[in-house]
Structure formats: C-alpha cells, structure tokens
C-alpha cells in the first residue's frame, strides 16, 4: 500500500510526543509499505518559525515533503485564545483562533487536494493543528486519525466538531483518550482501537553509576521531562519543599523555570539516553505531576526499569496506566502525595516488577504493528 503520514512537524531533531509517535509509526509501516510524509518546515511548535528547507528530502528511506509555514503563531495568540476559551465570542473568532495558533500551511492543503488520492490511506496526526483539522476533511474516505486528544478547552471549539465524525478509523493512544472522544463526540460507530506505542526493550540502567556520577545518596524521587510550569513542576516543587525530606528530588530534563535552592532538590538539565536509563534505574519512585499527558511515555520507561510511579490523579491517562499496570499510586493533594511517597518508598520493588511485565506485554512492538495494520486496512481505499 501507499501510505501518507501528515503531521505538523517531523524529523529526528523534533521534540514532541505526537511527533515522535508519528515518526516511529512511519518507520515501522515502511517495512511493509511505501510510506511518505507531508509536514511543515517548522522545528518548534511555539513560533512555527521556518527551520528546515521546504521541498523533498529523505528520512531513512521515507520520502518527506516539507511545506512552508506561511504564518506561525501570532504575537497576540494568548489574547485571542483567552477570548475564545473564556469570553463571549463568535464562530468567526474560533476560526481566527485556529489561524492564530499556526501553523498555517496552505501549500500542504493544496498538496492533499491535488495528490491525496494517489495514496491508499492517509494518517493524520494531532487533531488540533491545521494540517489535520483542515486537511482530513479533504480526504475523509481514506483517513486514519491519530488524534492525541486531551481533555482541554480547544477540543470543544467549532473547527473540531466535525473532524471526529469524518475519518474511516481512529487510533487512540490510551483507553482514556478513547473514552474522552466517545463521550465528547458520540462517534462510537467509527472503527477504532487503542494502539498505544511500540516500546523496544530498554537497556538495563545502572543505578549505582548514576548515584556515583552525581554524588547522590539515599532514596531518589525522579522527575523526567521538561521542567516547566506547564508540566506541573511548580506544583511538584511546592509540594516537595513544604516539608523536610529524607529523599532527593532529581529533575532530569530541560529546565524552563526557577528551581528553589535546597539540598533535597537536584536539577540535572537535559541528559543523554544512557544517563536517562541509569537515572530511572537509580530512582526509588518516579513522580509525574503533569495533568496533560497523552501517552505518559516516561512512566512506561520507568516501569521498564522496574521503578514504581506516583502520578497526578487529575490526569486520567497516567492515573489509568497506574491503575491498569498496578505500578504505582496517585495523589491529589499534599496529604496523599506524602502518604503515597512514603508507601512506595517503604514497599520496595514488587510493584515496579509487576509493571515491568505489563509494559512488556501491552506495548510490545508486534502488538502495535498488528493494531496499526488493522486500522490502516480499514481506512485504505483499495481501488
């Protein structure tokens, strides 16, 4: 089959969960099919500034077509967004919001209009951006949507109302996402499956090496990912510093906010893959304070190292993963945070071991491939 993957950003250097998922999927599908990618020439999702040269290039045998971003995120986007999400506004404002969000890529839409019928199936990534919300309606009859939907205000805006009724099939990342979309759009009649993500077996991390390298003794509570308010880190730090701790909170990831200077908090900024695995192995508990995770990849990686997790109860996705895997506990306030932490530190490794097996089975690459193949074959036009 000839398959096109449409995604807002693409490439090895692109940071982002949905984008990484798209690239992984493209490469896995390319083992059996002719796969091409249509994307923008942006690298970041905040400005959508042009970065890559427009035109065709190759990514490990996959033909990538990059179309120019004609307008990125508008300077007054925040003001437009708060009016549309919170204030009295019109239908026209909602479409203006979509344009202001960026990336506006008319050439990509024209490409779909002109050449889309050459592909048997087209996989659209991320419901929220223009390439999907305006692109999928051009070719609904061969579309597979990977929505990566969160329970967030834009999901209820007019431009998205029809989108979820259109594709021939939908791939969800988690059961929680499926439940959310079905509840919101009543589109249970569209064939769908929870595909998760393919996780290759992880290398065994070396916890002792990590402790030695960073001079950390005693229990480690690890946060892995971008260190920012949007990811819930401000809340985490305030919970953490509210009392004396015997353990060390280690923050592994790009630091985008002020960090309190106290011995019980160590921020190590971005690290190599090897250090990541070592850190996860060294950790006694992995903490995930974000309320807006669509896959919770970090939890899965933690479980691959047998590390139990303490997650924000307000995030249905990570809370659901913890419930299904038995690999941790949830918290909703300071009391349950402290209690959960204490319990996980006291318990030792059994919970993490159980979750390790669960991840191996649930996120097996072969299983992912099987489910994706099935959805693609439902979406595909055979004529």
């Amino acid at each position: 089959m000839r398959i096109l993957v449409v995604v807002q950003r693409y490439g090895a250097e692109v940071v982002g969960g949905a984008e990484a998922h798209a690239r992984t999927l493209a490469h896995r599908l390319a083992r059996r099919h002719e796969v091409e990618v249509a994307t923008t020439n942006a690298l970041d999702y905040w400005t959508w500034a042009e970065h890559f040269p427009p035109g065709e290039s190759a990514d490990d045998g996959i033909l990538v077509r990059r179309f120019r971003v004609r307008s990125g995120r508008r300077k007054d986007y925040k003001a437009i967004e708060s009016r549309v999400l919170l204030g009295v506004h019109t239908l026209v404002d909602e479409y203006a919001w979509l344009r202001a969000q960026g990336p506006h890529v008319p050439d990509l839409l024209e490409f779909l209009h002109r050449d889309g019928q050459r592909y048997h199936a087209i996989i659209f990534y991320t419901y929220i951006y223009e390439p999907t919300v305006l692109g999928l309606p051009i070719l609904p009859e061969r579309a597979l949507l990977v929505a990566t939907a969160h329970d967030e205000a834009p999901l209820r805006l007019a431009p998205y109302r029809a989108l979820f009724q259109l594709p021939r099939a939908i791939a969800f990342l988690t059961p929680e996402e499926r439940d959310l979309v079905h509840r919101e759009f009543r589109n249970e009649h569209i064939p769908s499956d929870v595909v998760g993500a393919p996780l290759d077996p992880a290398p065994r991390g070396d916890g002792a090496r990590f402790r030695a390298a960073h001079g950390i003794e005693g229990p480690i509570v690890l946060y892995l990912g971008q260190v920012s308010e949007a990811k819930g880190c401000a809340e985490l730090l305030s919970l953490w510093t509210a009392r004396e701790r015997d353990a060390t909170l280690v923050l592994l990831g790009h630091v985008r906010m002020p960090i309190p200077s106290t011995p019980s908090v160590r921020a190590l900024d971005a690290v190599s893959d090897e250090t990541k695995w070592d850190g996860l192995a060294a950790a006694d508990v992995l903490v995930q304070p974000s309320r807006f995770e669509s896959l919770g990849l970090v939890l899965l990686e933690g479980w691959q190292q047998g590390t139990p997790a303490l997650v924000q109860a307000g995030n249905p996705v990570t809370a659901g993963q913890v419930r299904r895997s038995g690999g941790g506990l949830t918290y909703e306030d300071a009391g349950s945070f402290d209690a959960g932490l204490e319990r996980l530190l006291a318990e030792g490794g059994a919970r993490g071991e159980r979750a390790r097996d669960w991840v191996r089975d649930e996120y097996a690459p072969e299983r992912f491939d099987r489910r994706i193949e099935e959805l693609v074959s439902i979406a595909a036009v055979s004529r």
Partner: protein
C-alpha cells in the same frame, strides 16, 4: 414578533416535544419561493409540524440567482411554523461564471473551490452563527441541499445532530473537495432515491453514515380537468409536456432540437396518418423557445394548472441529464402518465426503469421511436402510466415519509444519548 413566542409556548404546552423532540430545518430559501428542494422542504415541514416542534432557519432571499434580500430579516411565521430569516451578506458574485469555470477545471486548486462556494452565494454569516450558538437547543437539524453555504458550513457546526437531505445530482460541483467532508459528517442522510444513494456511495465511500431513502410525497389536488386545460389554451390533439426551468442545463435545448427534427421528419414522411402533436412547455424561460406551430409556451403555470396539464398530456418529457428526484416525475406518475427521459440521466432513468413507468432514450432515433410508440400504442402508454402510479402509491406517500423521518430523528436522538 408576538406570534412566535405564542407559538413556541403553545407547542411546549401541547407536549409535542415530549415525544418527538425539536427540529430546526435549514434551507437556503423558504416560504413562497420556487425550486424543487425548497418546495420539498416546505411540504415536509408542513407535514412534520403536527408531530414535533419544528422551526426553520433560512435567508431573506427569494431567488436562487441573485439571492437579493427580499423577505424582512428576523422572525416570522409561515404556515404556522416559526421561521428565522437571516440577511444575505453576499449574493451571487458578478464573476460567478468565471469562478465556476476555475473550480470545475481539472487543474483547480482548493482555493478555486472555496472561491466558487463563496461566489455562488448565499453568504449569510448570521445564519451560521445562529446554528452555532443554538446547537444545543434543537434535537435534530435537517439540512436541505448539499451545494450551498448554509449546508456546507452549517452541517460541520452540529454534525452529531445533523440529518442531510443532499438532493445530490451527478454534476460537476459534487466532485469538488470542499463537499467531501459534508457527506461523511452528518449523523444521518435522507436520500430522495435509491439511485441518488448509490451515486453518493460510489463517489464518497460513506456507506457508514446511516441513511434512508425517503423521497417526497405526492398528493393530488381535487377537481383536476384535462378539458379545462385544453380549452383555456385552445389545444387539440396529442400533447407532450415539459414542466420546469427552461435552460440549457436542464436539457431543454436538446429537447427542442429533437422535437423539431421528429416533427419535421413526420411531416415530410408522405402523409403519416398521425395527428399533429404539440409540445407544451411550461416554466420560467431562460433561453429562446422555438417559434413553431407545434410548440406552445405557456410561461409559468399554477399548481392547479400543472395537474390539469398532466391529465391532458400523453407523457411528460424530462430531458435533463442531471436529475435527482424530480417532483414533476412523481406527480405525472401519480396522474398515470409515463415519463420520457434520456438514459444518461442515471438517477431518473434508473428510477423510471425500477418503476416501469416510462422509457429512456440513448439517441435521437430512440427518442423518435419512443414518442411514435406512445402515440400509436395507447395501451402501452397507459400501462407504463399505470405502473408509475402504482410505484408512487407504494413508495411516495406522505404518511409513510413522515413516519420514516420521525423514526430517523428518534435514531439521531438516541445516538446523541438524550
């Protein structure tokens, strides 16, 4: 308007909404206006009104060409039904024909297509805003006609409660990308004919969207008289009837050519015993009509006169290559008259074949043969007509159609989880 609030109070009191819920019908023009889809909408609304709370959202336009604002904007009551009229901000663009050519050209862009929809009119942002802001206030939204803005941009505003009556023809516009999502988005589709459904499924691969073949009902007025028609217009001998807009796109030009050729050949054919036949043409003329003693142009005729004309004719000729369900076909059948249509008009020819209520021609030769047959063999003519009448009686009666729509609305509400 006070009538509106009284009416809505009344309908609440009568507990209609308890059983069948509420319905907003969205259509580009409504009221005392011409047009098949518009007449269909009006007839259906009038017949649904006793069963559920029905309102209509439409524009202030009366004609489909300029979309000029004729009716006052605001709330009105038409036939006892509340109607919300919204102004047309932009009617048909001056360069519409140019836009149309660009949008139908093989090298068209998406931008060309959008420009075509916009240039076609009626652009009524207030109507769309109304649908958007009132989307929770009606259980079901019934959209008429796929091609115009209120439907193209309105259905996506309330897809989960939308039922589309596409009245789709196999015409250039339907192949545009901008219409593709429209046929996948609604909760259900109400087709007029089996043939229309087959055409849409072939084109859009949207079999998954629940659909029904509904059609429109036919009711005959009282006191129909063929003699009154003949007498008023001084018509004698066999008559073939054409009713509808007289334009090239409806096949009128070809009909006039075929007719003249057939009559001229007959006359030249050494004193054929056949009496002089006359082509009776009724409707709004948008092209010249040949001046011949065997072609009579009547202009637009009233509904009552139309039925008199059916009664008086041998057969109804529908030369349009792109008919979906044609109301006049059903009316002629209900009167027991056969249809003559081109075979390339797939929907109409398919229906005619299914009903056994007429004959289709591939060429001028077949056209001439069919007309000759109908004149020379009245028993064939009558048996075709009778089969058409049976078909309409079986399929196109209002009570059956109203029931089918109510069932469909109930399904939509059930799916909505209400």
């Amino acid at each position: 308007m006070s009538g509106l609030s009284e009416l809505s109070e009344l309908s609440e009191l009568s507990e209609l909404s308890e059983s069948d819920g509420s319905l907003l019908v969205v259509v580009q023009r409504y009221g005392d206006v011409s047009g098949g889809a518009e007449a269909h909408a009006r007839q259906l609304v009038d017949r649904l009104a006793p069963h559920l709370r029905v309102e209509v959202a439409t524009t202030t336009a009366a004609d489909y060409w300029t979309w000029e604002n004729v009716f006052p904007a605001g709330d009105a009551v038409v036939g006892g039904v509340p109607v919300h009229r919204f102004p047309v901000a932009r009617g048909r663009a001056r360069d519409f024909r140019k836009r149309e050519r660009a949008a139908f050209a093989p090298a068209r862009t998406l931008a060309d297509e959008r420009a075509f929809v916009d240039a076609q009119g009626p652009h009524s942002p207030e109507l769309l805003e109304f649908i958007h802001s009132r989307r929770d206030d009606y259980d079901t939204f019934l959209f008429f006609t796929y091609i115009y803005e209120p439907t193209v941009y309105g259905v996506p505003l309330t897809p989960g409660r939308a039922v589309l009556v596409p009245t789709a023809h196999d015409e250039p516009a339907i192949s545009l990308s901008v219409y593709r999502a429209l046929f996948h988005a609604p909760r259900a589709i109400a087709f007029n004919t089996e043939e229309e459904r087959a055409m849409v499924w072939r084109r859009f691969r949207n079999e998954r969207v629940p659909s029904e073949v509904m059609g429109v009902g036919v009711e005959l007025p009282d006191g129909i008289s063929a003699d009154r028609f003949r007498h008023r217009h001084g018509l004698e001998g066999p008559l073939f009837l054409y009713v509808g807009r007289i334009v090239e796109s409806k096949g009128a030009g070809e009909l006039f050519d075929f007719w003249a050729r057939w009559r001229d050949e007959r006359r030249a054919g050494n004193g054929s015993p056949q009496p002089q036949a006359t082509l009776v043409v009724a409707g709004h003329a948008e092209m010249p009509i040949p001046k011949r003693d065997d072609v009579r142009y009547l202009g637009r005729i009233s509904d009552e006169e139309k039925f008199d004309a059916y009664a008086a004719c041998e057969a109804l000729v529908i030369p349009s290559p792109l008919e979906s369900l044609s109301l006049v076909t059903l009316e002629a059948w209900a009167m027991g008259k056969p249809i003559v249509c081109p075979a390339r008009s797939r929907i109409l020819a398919g229906m005619t074949h299914r009903a056994g209520g007429g004959l289709a021609y591939h060429s001028y030769a077949e056209f001439a043969e069919i007309l000759g047959l109908l004149l020379e063999r009245p028993e064939v003519r009558d048996s075709l007509g009778a089969r058409g009448r049976d078909f309409v009686a079986r399929t196109y009666t209002w009570p059956r159609i109203v029931e089918a729509y109510r069932d469909l609305f109930a399904e939509v509400r059930a799916r909505d989880g209400k």
